[in-house]
Amino acid sequence: MDTQQALFQYCLRLGDTNLILGHRLAEMCSRGPFLEEDIALTNFALDHTGQAEALLGYAGQLEGKGRSEDDLAYLRSEWEYRNFLLCEQPNTDFAFVIARQLMVDTFHCLLYDQLRTGKDEMLAGMAARFLKEATYHFRHSSSWVERLGQGTDESQRRIRKAFNDLWRFVPEMFESDSAEKTLADQGIAPESSDLQAQWMVNIARVFDKAGLSIPAVENAPVGSTRAVHSEHLGHLLSEMQYLQRAYPEAKW
């Protein structure tokens, strides 16, 4: 695989994860536990959507077929999406939203930190900017995990359940594909598998303060690098893409 093609696929993967997570967070708009947290969550939704915009925009340039970030976001079908399965899981309760967020934020902090010293200038520049956002997101999600873990019996039960339910999506985050290997060989991006040990250390630190224990991994699904998804992505896209599909090229 040539570098440009690999970089295209890689940016798509990173961009899709941000886009889909941003959409799930946007669904929390008006459904936060209280006003301030509602604003915080939608603020993060905008951060992730903004990262997606930059990454998909760059992906479109690399592809060279004239597709814009909007084309890539709104005119692809689910078998062309490469986001983490973790991000497409539907929101259940606030603890679930926070647990998912901590898992992704911890991953993003490590990934962006590596990417910003990578050899692709454009990607490195974006990563430096994204790292600041991810660092803040991590601060927010980790402080909430601690709070829920040390809170009431109910908050503790819910945050435990959230991590138990989501833990099967951990291995997928560290799955490398051929595009990633191509970029790793050239010092453009790290191999995800190299991030796993530190991810576990950083998560364990938060769990320790929260009084939580690391769940076991059972029935871990993998597939996003091959664009194989859970049943939830199609439903999400039908809502997210509705306007562009119903009114092609609509602008406002």
């Binding site: 209280f34 006003l35 301030e36 947290e37 604003i39 915080a40 603020n43 803040y136 601060r139 927010h140 402080s143 709070r147």
Partner: protein, 98 residues
């Protein structure tokens, strides 16, 4: 019975600093259950559009305020003492914060 506002946590007052070296100014208030949450909420509510380089949060209950009933004895006596205003001096050009 607990007051209804308790479900959102206690009230905090937020102060932002627009530029390094300038005074902190009151930006608004918010609800939060602890210091870290108050600081994070303040960041997300009041600094999202590049309004701040510094941020303070203060528990509203820790602020000692003049009660409205006491306003007259506190503030009215200064009304008739114009000689306390430095209006008889010319402010040199270039002085901005005075």
């Amino acid at each position: 019975m607990e007051h209804i506002s308790d479900s959102q946590g206690p009230l905090w007052e937020v102060f932002t600093q627009k530029k390094t070296g300038t005074p902190y100014q009151h930006a608004g208030s918010l609800h939060a259950f602890d210091k870290e949450m108050a600081l994070e909420n303040a960041r997300d509510l009041f600094t999202r559009r590049g309004e701040a380089t510094g941020l303070w949060v203060v528990p509203a209950s820790e602020i000692i305020a003049v009660q409205p009933d006491d306003a007259a004895p506190f503030f009215d006596p200064s009304d008739d003492k114009v000689y306390r205003h430095p209006t008889f001096y010319e402010v040199p050009e270039g002085v901005k914060n005075m």
